[in-house]
């Protein structure tokens, strides 16, 4: 339910000041037309208190019943009706309390039309302001709900993008551990540890969290160590980091899928040994990371290499930065390069 405008202190004060001004104004005007001070005050108090009640009724009603589109004619009629009721009630009460003053009947009779127009105008204004206020409140609530829903959807999507990468890697790693248990239990134990640390890292980190390049590389190393146990001598890596990158940050868990893609692409597209290279550098205000893997240009179709891994990274970068140009790939001779730019200063 929308809040009434009177729930805000500032509006309450303004409302009361308006009422007091009207009260005083009417006393003055009536006195000017020859009514004694006391009578003028009673008249003004009765008249304006009733008007105030009518205003409050309108404001309260609109809080629960807001007209839509074509129903404004109803509002107009209700205002008119309320004004008439207010006027009759006022007239009756005034006659009852001030009828014994000389010439009061005359003044009352002549001022009825003026009282009516002022009352109608005022009620109309209050009604209009209330409608605008409640409409705005409603819009605000709707917007908040929409932002909340969008945020939830975005978080869910980011989470899903990360989750989809795991199963193949996980089951193959478990299979390797299974093989090691028989002959090399020490290594099996080490790999269980690495795999646990890696998985813990995946679970622990939030999608929107930023980490330093050093942290991300440590995490990446866990992944690479596991992959090296799986693929044996076929896989080797070279990582080179420019000194000026220290302290630069990137979204957590961004590099691993890129490297995973490079490893898959490299290992499954060539039969010999595969070297995966990673270079990190600072270029202007960006952290730029290049991941290189060999491939066979003769047998790769262009769709390959931008497999699921990179598509999800691209989507994630878009969700985080609202930019689609942060992930690029290039194929030169038999080297495929994935370039990711991470804008700093966030």
């Amino acid at each position: 339910m929308a809040n009434s405008p009177l729930s805000i202190a500032r509006f309450r004060v303004i409302f009361i000041i308006c009422w007091v001004v009207m009260l005083a104004d009417q006393v003055m005007v009536l006195h000017y037309f020859g009514l004694p001070w006391k009578a003028a005050m009673i008249d003004s108090a009765i008249c304006n208190t009733l008007l105030l009640t009518a205003c409050l009724v309108v404001m309260h009603t609109l809080r629960y019943y807001l007209p839509r589109g074509e129903q404004y004619i109803n509002i107009f009629s209700i205002c008119l009706l309320l004004t008439v009721v207010w006027l009759l009630l006022t007239k009756w009460l005034l006659k009852l309390s001030l009828g014994n003053y000389d010439g009061y009947d005359d003044i009352l009779h002549h001022s009825l039309s003026i009282r009516f127009s002022i009352g109608f105008l005022l009620l109309g204004c209050v009604t209009m302001i209330s409608i605008l206020w409640y409409n705005q409140q409603e819009q605000k609530e709707k917007d908040e709900r929409k932002t909340d829903a969008e945020k939830l959807a975005r978080e869910a999507e980011l989470f899903k993008l990360r989750q989809q990468l795991q199963p193949h890697f996980l089951f193959n790693s478990l299979n390797s551990i299974n093989a090691l248990i028989g002959n090399r239990p020490e290594e099996a134990r080490k790999m269980v540890q690495q795999l646990s640390d890696f998985l813990r890292g995946t679970i622990k980190k939030e999608e929107t969290q930023w980490v330093t390049l050093e942290e991300e590389l440590q995490y990446l190393q866990l992944y690479l160590d596991i992959e090296k146990v799986r693929f044996g001598n076929r896989l080797s890596t070279e990582i080179s980091i420019d000194e000026n990158t220290s302290g630069l940050k990137l979204p957590a868990l961004l590099l691993q899928p890129i490297v995973e893609n490079a490893i898959k692409f490299g290992l499954y597209d060539t039969t010999g040994d595969t070297v995966i290279r990673l270079y990190a550098a600072r270029e202007e205000n960006n952290l730029v990371i290049r991941v290189l893997n060999p491939f066979d240009p003769e047998t790769s179709s262009p769709q390959q290499g931008t497999g699921f891994g990179l598509k999800s990274v691209k989507r994630r970068l878009y969700l985080l930065f609202a930019r689609a140009d942060l992930l690029n790939t290039e194929a030169k001779q038999n080297i495929f390069t994935t370039i990711v730019k991470i804008p700093q200063g966030k």
Binding site: N175, A179, S301
Partner: protein
Amino acid sequence: MGKIIIIDDEPLARSIVKEYLQKHPQLELVQECNDGFEGLKAIQQHSPDLIFLDIQMPKINGFEMLELVDQPPPVIFTTAFDEYAIKAFEAHAIDYLLKPFNQERFDKAVAKWGEQKASSSEKATQDLLESASLSPSQNQRIVVKNGSKIKIIPVHDVFYLEAADDYVKIHTQEGYFLKNKTMNHFEQVLDGQQFVRSHRSYIVNVQQITRIDPYEKDNHVAVLRSGPKVPVSRSGYGKLKEVLGL
């Protein structure tokens, strides 16, 4: 007695199969292979009685390798996670081991192989390959044997396909390659938006077409960018027009 070959690109994955094999002294491991190329050679050399085959492997996957073997031996697939492949296995009742697997499950698979006749397993393997080739990752390229060499043809390099008795001629820049499949197979497997059956005996890559000329009455020919002309029948012309949005 039975001759065994293990084909898997991960050394530890091979070693666990080796370890489990020790319980079956009647089975003799004749070779371990790193990838499909080695595997193919080894199968031709040893004609094994059973192979353990991984699916995801360098260059050509396990299914593609099997396609190249003239008479595929009985296979037990070993794979970690491949929804599509698992569906295919289930449909064709071929045994498969999901990594990681234990000795008990391994023994069961071997026992099942022992009960099956070789001929029925070959039929099942053929059916499996047929359905596996429909998987999305499989229709990006065609793997053929060219003499003793294996050639991987990305589908966008294919000009057109031509029926030739029991084979299909795959025409490319480098000449044609033969594959022991039917036209209907390729019509099903290849992307219908890119490859159109223009004629009973021809499937053409629409991206290669530069123009379509009338030819005799009722018929047309599609002229490819690289020169060759591919016959287009009346119904083929309709299909081409639809795909090209004419």
